[in-house]
Amino acid sequence: SAVISQKPSRDICQRGTSLTIQCQVDSQVTMMFWYRQQPGQSLTLIATANQGSEATYESGFVIDKFPISRPNLTFSTLTVSNMSPEDSSIYLCSVAETQYFGPGTRLLVL
């Protein structure tokens, strides 16, 4: 099993600013996945983060908007850059081929 924590749990931000979300796992994992869950909707994969290489982004998501770091096998960050109200969402990290999810970061952009 894996226990995942995320910081912050929630935040309210002004448009044009950036927020970095942290994901910490209690064990070493090869792949970490970042998902977005917009209000009332399902989960959409943003990118897959492997340690030691560039993240792989899904269609519709770009590195300039969502830069990801993966400095070691237990930690990753996702930055939401130059935010707009459309970025208001829950951001979730996941490991072990989505067997385990973090509690999510609830972001509201004003």
Partner: protein, 111 residues
């Protein structure tokens, strides 16, 4: 684009009733997962089915994977208020490691 269609989108029932949630696709998947998500939390994996025709039971929940591995159902017997939540189906295509999610079924069980 592979899509998972879930139905119904929303279900409000009385405690003790039975219900079935469906997850359908035109694609064949190597495995299919069901999750439950409560407000303020991440999804929690309930079950993974991998074999066509497979049936798995988890207390009052019964999960079935279609023979052709394109669809699945979740049946809850004698629903309880604690079953309230968002039920998500998800699938991974053959040889892939990426998981796609259905839109979810929001269940509310009234006491």
């Amino acid at each position: 684009t592979q899509l998972l269609e879930q139905s119904p989108q929303f279900l409000s029932i009385q405690e003790g009733e039975n219900l079935t949630v469906y997850c359908n696709s035109s694609s064949v998947f190597s495995s299919l997962q069901w999750y439950r998500q409560e407000p303020g939390e991440g999804p929690v994996l309930l079950v993974t089915v991998v074999t066509g025709g497979e049936v798995k039971k988890l207390k009052r929940l019964t999960f079935q994977f279609g023979d052709a591995r394109k669809d699945s159902s979740l049946h809850i017997t004698a629903a309880q208020p604690g079953d309230t939540g968002l039920y998500l189906c998800a699938a991974r295509n053959t040889g892939g490691f990426k998981t796609i999610f259905g839109a979810g079924t929001r269940l509310f069980v009234k006491a």
